[in-house]
Structure formats: C-alpha cells, structure tokens
Symmetry: C2
Subunit: 365 residues, 2 copies
C-alpha cells in the first residue's frame, strides 16, 4: 500500500510542517465537510470557497456587465437585463485547481488544500454564447477576457482577478452567466450579483463578481492566466494552462471521527461505503474502485444529477477488527484513472491522487 | 510596538510551523471573511464553523427534543411543537473559545484559529427557561446537560458532544432553543433542526443538533465540560471553566490584500478604518482604540443591533507612505480591556489579544 501523503507525521521535502501564511489562508478559505458527500447538492454555506483577494460587496441594482474591446456591437447590461435572458438551471461540480496541493512534494506555498476543495451547486443563469454573438466579436478575436471586481496583489503584481477563454472554448464549454445558487440569489462570497460558470473546468475559470467581458485581438496576458494556474516543470517553464478537471473521487468517511486526527472509528461488521466521483468536460465516470483489505473492488455507480455533476458510488465492506487504510479511485469514460500518488508540478495543481481514509475497527459489541 | 504573534516568519516555542493535523482542521473548519465586518449580520454561509465531529444530517419531521432525568414532569417535543412556542428573533455574536489559539505560545494542538472564528447571525427560536420550568426540575437539580446528535472520539474518549448549564445560568443567560438563522431555516452545519444559543458565552455552550436536555442531581461530567474548555495552568490543574466571551475587536483590513501574506496595500491619504467589537454577558462596549503611527486613538462607536450583538466602530486615518502595523483594542463597560499579547493557558482559549494588520502605504497617485 502506498503511503498516504496525508499520514500523520509525514514530512515533506525536509520541512515537516506548514507555514503561518498557509494556515492563515486555510483559516480564511473553506473546504467541504466530507460527511455531506451523501448530498447530490452541497448544502448551502458548505460549498468550498477560495477567494484570491477580498469579497467585493456589490450592489445588484447598480451592477453592469460591460462587453468591450473588439466587438462590432458592444453593449452593457444591467442585472435586470441579464436576468431577462433565457434561464437555465443545472448542477455543476466545481473544484479548486489547488485541491490536493498539501499532499505534493515539494509543496508550493499557497492555500494548503488537502481533499476538500470541491462542491456541487444548482446554478441558475443564462448561456454566455448568445450574448457574445449579439456583441458581434470580430473574426480577429483570439481571446475573451473575463474580469472580476476583486482586486489585489500577487507576487507584487496588482491586478483585478481575470481569466480568458478562446472563441472555441466559448462555443464548446456550455459557459453560463450565473445569478442564482440552490434556488436563491447568489451569495456575496460566491460572486454576487453575477459570476461565470465554466462547467467541467477547474474553479479558477469561473470568474466571480464579473464586471467586464473584453474581446481581444491577441491572447490575454492577465496575471492569473499567464503567471499562475499553469502546469510547470521548472521555474523558467512557461508551462501548459490548467483547464479541465482531472478525474477524481472522494469517500464519505465511515463511522465516527477522532476530533484531532480525523481518523475514523467503527464497529466490526458490514458497512456501506459511499462517495462521489467526477471528471472534466462533462465526461461520464465509468468506474470507481475501493481499496478494501489490500485489494481494489468495483463500487456500484448510483448516477449523476446532470452532465456536469458528480456521480455517486457505493460498496459494502465487511469491516474486521484492526487499523485499515481505505482508498477510492475513479476512471472516466476516456480511460483517465486517478494515480496512487501525486504527479509533480511547481504550482501544486490538479493533484488527483486517491483519497485515503484511516479507519480503526473495534470488535463488534 | 509589541510584535504580532502572527507576523510572517515568527516562530513559536522552537517549532516554526504547524502540523498536518492542524492544517486538516483548518481545511475543514472555516473562519469569517474579515472584509464582511462592514455587515451588522454576517452573510449566510460565511459565519464561522467549528464542528467537533461530523455534521449529522437530521430529519426535522422525525426530530424530538427529550427532557429527561430529574424532572417531575418530563416530556418530549417534536419540532412542530417547539416551533409553536413563543417566537423570538435576536442578533447574537458567537465566537469560538479557541479563536486566537494560533497566536499562543506554546500553541496547543487543536484547530489553529488566528482571528476569524467569530460571526453574528439573527437567530430565531424560543426562550429555554419556560420549557425547563414546564418540565418541573427537582429542587435538587445541579446541572442541565444539553446533548447533541454529533458523536466521536477525543483523546480516546467516545462521546456525543454535550455541555451543561446550572439552574442559575438558565435563569440569567437568555438561553434560546433555535430553529432559524437569518430569516431562513437553520442550515445543517449550524445545528439543524434545533440548537441551543447561549448569548454572551463562547460558542461551545451553544450545543448544535440538540436532542436531549437532562436534569442532573450532580454536576455533569461530560468530556467537553470537564476535560476541554477549561483554563488550566498545568497538566494536573482541573482549571476554571471557559464561559463568558472576553472583550475583543477586529478591524476590517483596509485597502487591498496580498494573496499570500494577506498584508494590505493602499494609497497615501485619508482612509476610514472600521470594524467590530464585542464582549460577553450582554455588557456594552465602552471604548475602541486604534493604534495609528504608534499612538492609540479613540474610535467612534456606531452602535449595536442588539444586546448580544457586536458594536461597530470607525476612525479616520491619514495614511503616510511606508509600512505600518495597525491594531485595535476594545474596552467594555466593566473595564475589561484587550491585552497586547496573549495570556497563557494550556488549552489555548480566549486569546483576546489585539488584532494587528500590516499595511503598505504607497505614495499617492
């Protein structure tokens, strides 16, 4: 059995522990509660949150989305005008590209996510593509930049958070402009009054507090597009962009936890293990295997609520007394399977190595 | 100026950094977003969360609150029966007793809160005292134990989370049974369908997922009452119980942040600093001072939304170019004032030392 990168006492590159700044980020940002994996839709208020700068408290009545740059028919829309567009609601699983970073070696200094930066909400909004078409982008457009109202510094560079998509991305990705979440208005910390949702891509693409869409006749050079969120092998490597979510699964930890270690405790006997699996691009999950007593066993898939929503899985296990390390791994319909240990990249992105759970099983009562 | 215990690079008792288990807890539990300190009521979904074990997903229609033990007229109530009681809504500021623990030296191994474990919600419920009276507690009752549905291990001891209040506490503390939060049903992670709110005490007293109230003719000996949440000076010290919130204040960090350090950046010139201050027991805040250029200045108090809600404050500052460390400290009407550095106790409770914010001020544009 491969050692869990999260095993208590594990060291990492000679540095056993985490820095104060990482813990500051972990205080501020928040992960999923894994016990809510039974829910198709993550309960409101427990969806993971990663905010680069500060949450802007925007006034919906005053908010305007501007279509600017290389459009032949640029315009601006109020929230009332946006909400009068054709309305779509769909469940979409979002995951932070940094999820799993805390298990990488060396570990980049950033938000030290372990497993929890994922969640699924019912997003309500309108498709982006028809609004882009209405603004008549010139044939020469190479990128659409999506700019948020959140502003700050990273590595000394001041910028509003921004990301771009190519015309081909916009045509292919079912991108939405979103103002609702789980049947209620979008909450401030999730991007109110308006955000982008790019289904099937890591969360950084789903720009919050969206204020401007700029058509560009060159590639967008924003900090978060060019300097972060890239797979790099060394410091001078420009790298490849982080885009589609990699195949991944999580287990709802069985039994009850130990407060500090989060190790699990349960009685010997039959227990149904369950969890969720997901991948990028709307591709179905084909298989979930669970590591029980040293062997991988196929779990039953229990379906997904939508093309971009995670898939449920479950399997029965006869728990025998002793200490066990359970794990799960998913394979998608394109044949991508989770690795047993993290693949390396400088930014610590897309670590989709298997979820491991330590379980102490007592004799049956 | 006293060094901030949170200054980047600070070491603590020879151990420079944080353990993997602490970071695991910080991934799971979540703190306030300090930029929301402008809000009287913390936006739904951003109120701090500290969950000892797992969130139980309870069915409201099936939920029953049992009054048991040394009552002469014990009974049990469904949620419909509880919600038919006289209804009260009031804003209450809750704070985790471990808030500030990450700044203590030595630092106990537990959830490593820095400043953010605080929030204010509008809680809707019914007063507890009349229901206790209706169950006719015997004169010999010494403690009422409040037992939640959440269960797990701490230091090897299996227990449901439970806490107690004396008959005098119940008479004096305006304790509520709560089913609503910010005008909506209580969310699962905040204790749905029913929790206790003990205004003016640290959060551990406000038991979530409340299932039983047991009248006891002896003092309650539950793990969370006797083994944790006590001010201890050494390992064999039984200690004093943690009860009322200590006076504290926070500043809404001005300007814009650096992503990693959370240091702030702003332009030279006048800026209005603002924040919140609170203390325990419904006592008013009398004074908030802000450290500007090395001297303490009185801020203006802007009032509170209720007896148990935090108080707003603000002050103008003419920011001059350079690196500044701002700080704020509150004094309550009983004369309690925040200390400049943490008082020591083994559990790392109630560190109400002043909030410090590092600010880089640039020349005006």
């Amino acid at each position: 059995m491969t050692d869990s990168p999260f095993t208590p006492g594990a060291t990492r590159n000679g540095v056993p522990e985490f820095t104060r700044e990482e813990v500051g980020l972990a205080n501020r940002n928040s992960g999923a509660l894994l016990e809510t994996l039974d829910c198709d839709i993550t309960p409101t208020g427990t969806h993971y949150l990663l905010t680069h700068f500060d949450v802007p408290m925007l006034s919906a009545p005053d908010h305007v989305l501007e279509f600017a740059g290389a459009f032949d028919a640029p315009f601006a829309l109020s929230m009332d005008e946006i909400m009068a567009q054709p309305q779509v609601t769909q469940p979409v699983t979002l995951e932070c590209a940094g999820n799993g970073r805390a298990g990488m070696d060396p570990r980049p200094l950033s938000m030290p996510w372990m497993y929890e930066a994922v969640g699924t909400s019912e997003w309500t909004g309108t498709p982006l593509a028809p609004l882009i078409a209405r603004a008549k982008p010139r044939d020469s457009v190479q990128d659409f930049a999506f700019i948020g109202a959140d502003f700050g510094y990273d590595k000394g560079v001041a910028h509003a958070f921004g990301r771009s998509l190519t015309p081909q991305d916009v045509a292919e990705l079912d991108v939405m402009l979103v103002w609702g979440m789980n049947g209620a208005p979008l909450l401030p910390q999730h991007g109110a009054p308006l955000r982008l949702i790019v289904p099937g891509w890591y969360g950084m693409a789903s720009v919050k507090w969206l204020t401007k869409i700029e058509a560009m006749e060159h590639r967008y050079q924003g900090f978060q597009q060019v300097e972060t969120y890239r797979f790099r092998t060394h410091a001078d490597d420009p790298g490849q962009p982080v885009t589609r979510i990699h195949v991944r699964s999580l287990m709802k930890p069985p039994g009850v936890p130990d407060w500090f270690t989060r190790d699990r405790w349960l009685q010997a006997g039959r227990v149904t293990l369950s969890g969720r699996a997901w991948t990028g691009g709307g591709v179905p999950i084909e298989r979930v295997e669970v590591l029980l007593n040293g062997d991988w066993h196929d779990a039953a898939l229990t379906g997904r609520a939508g093309r971009y929503a995670w898939t449920g899985w479950q399997i029965d296990w006869t728990a025998t007394p002793g200490l066990h390390e359970l794990a799960c791994r998913a394979t998608d319909a394109e044949g991508n399977r989770q690795p047993l240990s993290a693949a390396q990249n400088l930014g610590g992105f897309a670590n989709n190595s298997v979820h491991r759970v330590r379980v102490h099983v007592a004799e049956s009562a």
